[in-house]
C-alpha cells in the first residue's frame, strides 16, 4: 500500500506540473458548467441541479482520459521499465493511476457543486452522500476503463484514437450532454448498455430528486462491478516494456469489461423501469420551464 501511495503522490505532483492537465481537468469542466447553466437553465433552480448532474458526469468520465494516457507515455519512453526494476508491482502502478485521478478530480467537483448552490441558487445540495459515492465509484471505474485501453493499445496515437471513439460514445449516448429523454426510443434502449449512462442518471437523480443510495443501487452496483472487472483485466494485460506488443486476445479481454453493463442493459431493457423514470424526471423538470427546452410539449 505504501508503494501505491508513494506513486500516487508522485503522479499527482506530475499532473499538477502539466498545463494541459489544468486546462482539461479544471478549466474545461468549469467552462461547461457556466456555459450549461447560463445557456440552458435561465435561472431555474431545478434545471441547475439537472445540469450539475450532467456536468459532474462529464467531469467524472474525464477520468477515462486521466492518467491512463500518461501510462502509455511512460511505457513508450521506457519509464515503466525503470519502475519495474524496483519493488513496484503492476497493481501499484494501476492503483496509483486510479487514486491520483480521483484526488485530482474531487476538488473541481466540490467547486462545481458549491458554484451551483451559491452562484446559481440551486435549491438544495442534492443528496451529497449519494453524489460522493457515485463520484468515487465513477471516477475509479472510468479510470480503470482508461487503463484497459492503455493496456491493449501499442502507441499513444492508437490510444488517443480509441479513447476518442469511446469518449464520444460516453459523451453523447449517456445523457450527459443530450438528455436521454430526447432520444428516440430505440436509442434510449441502446444507451442502457453504455457505462456512463449509469453514472449520468445516478448523478442527475441524486442532484435533482435527492435520490437515496437505496434508489441508486443499480447504478452503484453497475459501476462497482465495472470497476472490479476493468481493474482485474487491466492488471492482467499490463505491460512494462515498450517493445512488448498487446496480443490479439487482449482486445477480446477489453470487451469483457463491458459484460456487467451488457447484463444491466438487458435487465433494464427488460424491466423498463429506468427509462420510465428518466423520461418522467425530464418532463417534470421541463414543465417548470414551459416552452424553453427542445422536446418540451
Amino acid at each position: 500500500m505504501s508503494t501505491t501511495w508513494t506513486l500516487t503522490k508522485m503522479r499527482m505532483r506530475l499532473a499538477m506540473r502539466n498545463r494541459a492537465f489544468f486546462f482539461f481537468s479544471f478549466f474545461m469542466p468549469l467552462l461547461f458548467l457556466f456555459g450549461g447553466v447560463g445557456f440552458f437553465t435561465k435561472g431555474s433552480a431545478g434545471w441547475t441541479a439537472y445540469v450539475l448532474g450532467a456536468i459532474l458526469t462529464l467531469t467524472v468520465i474525464g477520468s477515462f482520459w486521466g492518467l491512463s494516457v500518461q501510462l502509455v507515455t511512460f511505457r513508450e519512453h521506457g519509464v515503466l521499465r525503470r519502475f519495474r526494476l524496483a519493488p513496484v508491482k503492476a497493481s501499484d502502478m494501476l492503483s496509483s493511476s486510479i487514486i491520483s485521478s480521483y484526488f485530482l478530480t474531487l476538488p473541481i467537483m466540490v467547486i462545481e457543486i458549491v458554484v451551483c448552490r451559491y452562484a446559481f441558487h440551486m435549491r438544495s445540495w442534492g443528496n451529497l452522500w449519494a453524489i460522493f459515492v457515485l463520484v468515487t465509484l465513477g471516477s475509479a471505474a472510468f479510470s480503470a476503463f482508461g487503463l484497459i485501453i492503455a493496456s491493449v493499445t501499442n502507441t499513444m496515437q492508437e490510444t488517443q484514437m480509441i479513447n476518442n471513439l469511446i469518449w464520444m460514445g460516453f459523451l453523447f449516448l449517456s445523457g450527459a450532454t443530450i438528455p436521454l429523454a430526447l432520444f428516440p426510443g430505440w436509442l434510449q434502449r441502446v444507451a442502457l448498455f453504455i457505462p456512463a449512462t449509469y453514472l449520468a442518471t445516478g448523478l442527475e437523480s441524486s442532484a435533482t430528486n435527492m435520490a437515496s443510495l437505496r434508489e441508486l443501487v443499480t447504478d452503484i452496483v453497475a459501476l462497482a462491478l465495472g470497476l472490479w472487472v476493468a481493474y482485474e483485466i487491466s492488471r492482467q494485460l499490463f505491460r512494462w516494456e515498450p517493445e512488448a506488443k498487446a496480443p490479439r486476445r487482449a482486445k477480446v479481454w477489453a470487451v469483457a469489461a463491458l459484460v456487467p453493463f451488457i447484463i444491466f442493459g438487458v435487465w433494464e431493457n427488460y424491466t423498463g423501469v429506468r427509462l420510465k423514470q428518466i423520461n418522467r424526471n425530464y418532463h417534470a423538470l421541463s414543465s417548470q420551464m414551459a416552452g424553453f427546452l427542445p422536446g418540451h410539449k
Binding site: T6, M10, R13, R81, R82, L85, P87
Partner: protein, 306 residues
C-alpha cells in the same frame, strides 16, 4: 566458485528467429567487478536484463544472491540495483524527488542527501530530470541504482555515448563501488573500460562467451605481441604482410592492415622494404601494446566496434 553471488549456466534467449543468447555461462564472486565485453548485438544486454529479472530466459539457470530473478519477486529486487541501457524518468520529476521516490520503494535505504553529494547532483537537485545533460542523467541513473544500498549492481553500457571526461567521472564512481566491496556486473564495448575497471572479463560474441579471465590473463593470450596498424596508398598482395618477419597474424579491416608482431622493429623494416618492392607507400603507421581488442581479434577475426 564457492562464493559466487551471480551464477549463469547455459543460458539461452531467442527473439523469434534471432538467437540473442546461446548457451552463456559464467559466475561472479562477491565483491568482484565483472565485465561482459563485446560488440553491439553480442547478447550482453539480453543477458544482463535476464539477470535483472526484466526478461525471461528460454532455458538455463540464473541465480543472483542465491535467488531466481524470475520467481523471487521483491526479495530479489531489494538486493540489486541497476543502470539500464534504455530507460528514462518522467520529464517533470525533479532530481531529488526521483532519488527519494525510488528510495521509498525499498526496505533498506541509502542516505539520499549523501547520494546527491557523492554523484555531484546537489546543485541540480531541483532541476527537472529532462533538463539534465547526458552525463548528469547517467550520474542520476547511478545514484538511483544505489538508493537501496544493493549487494549487486548491474551497469549496462554505463558510459555509452558520453564524452571522455564524463566517462572518466563514471569510472571513478565504479572504482568507488569496487572499494565499497559491491559486486558489479558491467557490460561494455569499450576496451579501456573493461581493462581499467574489471577484475575479470567475459568476452561475448554472437550470443556466446568466447573466453573468460582477468584482463591480464586475456592479454597474455596475445602472446606479448604488439599491434601495428598501417594504412597504405594501395592495397597489397593478399597474405603478403602475414609473411613479414615477426608477424604472427595479419588482417585487414576497412583498408587498415592490423599486424600482430613479436618483433616490431624487424616487422617495420620488412614492411618498408616490401612496400618499396611494390612501389607502395605508407599513409600512416601506429603501434599499440597488447589489449583486449587483440584478444577479440584473435578469437573472432573481427574488431570490437565493427
Amino acid at each position: 566458485m564457492g562464493n559466487a553471488i551471480i551464477q549463469v549456466v547455459d543460458l539461452y534467449k531467442n527473439y523469434g528467429a534471432v538467437q540473442a543468447v546461446r548457451g552463456v555461462s559464467f559466475s561472479v564472486e562477491a565483491g568482484e567487478v565483472f565485465g561482459l565485453l563485446g560488440p553491439n548485438g553480442a547478447g550482453k544486454t539480453s543477458t544482463v536484463e535476464i539477470l535483472e529479472g526484466l526478461r525471461t530466459p528460454d532455458s538455463g539457470l540464473v541465480r543472483v544472491c542465491g535467488l531466481d530473478p524470475q520467481t523471487s519477486g521483491n526479495e530479489f529486487k531489494q538486493n540489486v540495483g541497476a543502470v539500464l541501457q534504455s530507460t528514462s524518468l518522467p520529464d517533470k520529476l525533479r532530481v531529488k524527488e526521483a532519488i527519494e521516490l525510488f528510495a521509498k520503494f525499498y526496505k533498506q535505504r541509502a542516505d539520499t542527501n549523501k547520494l546527491l553529494e557523492q554523484f555531484q547532483l546537489k546543485e541540480k537537485q531541483s532541476a527537472y530530470c529532462s533538463h539534465l545533460s547526458g552525463g548528469q542523467k547517467q550520474r542520476l541513473a547511478l545514484a538511483m541504482a544505489l538508493v537501496n544500498d544493493p549487494q549487486v549492481v548491474f551497469l549496462d553500457e554505463p558510459t555509452a555515448g558520453l564524452d571522455p571526461q564524463v566517462r572518466r567521472e563514471i569510472y571513478d564512481i565504479i572504482e568507488h563501488l569496487k572499494r565499497e566491496n559491491k559486486t558489479v556486473l558491467l557490460t561494455t564495448h569499450y576496451i579501456e573500460e573493461a581493462e581499467r575497471l574489471c577484475d575479470r572479463v567475459a568476452i561475448v560474441d554472437h550470443g556466446k562467451v568466447i573466453t573468460t579471465g582477468t584482463p591480464r590473463e586475456l592479454k597474455h593470450r596475445a602472446a606479448g605481441t604488439t599491434r601495428i596498424e598501417v594504412r597504405l596508398t594501395r592495397p597489397v598482395i593478399d597474405g603478403i604482410l602475414g609473411r613479414l618477419e615477426g608477424v604472427a597474424d595479419s588482417r585487414e579491416f576497412d583498408g587498415t592492415y592490423v599486424l600482430h608482431s613479436a618483433q616490431p622493429p624487424q616487422t617495420i623494416v620488412a614492411l618498408v622494404k616490401q612496400l618499396q618492392l611494390e612501389n607502395n607507400e605508407l599513409q600512416s603507421l601506429e603501434m599499440f601494446s597488447p589489449s583486449l581488442e587483440d584478444v577479440f581479434i584473435e578469437l573472432t577475426g573481427r574488431r570490437l566496434r565493427e
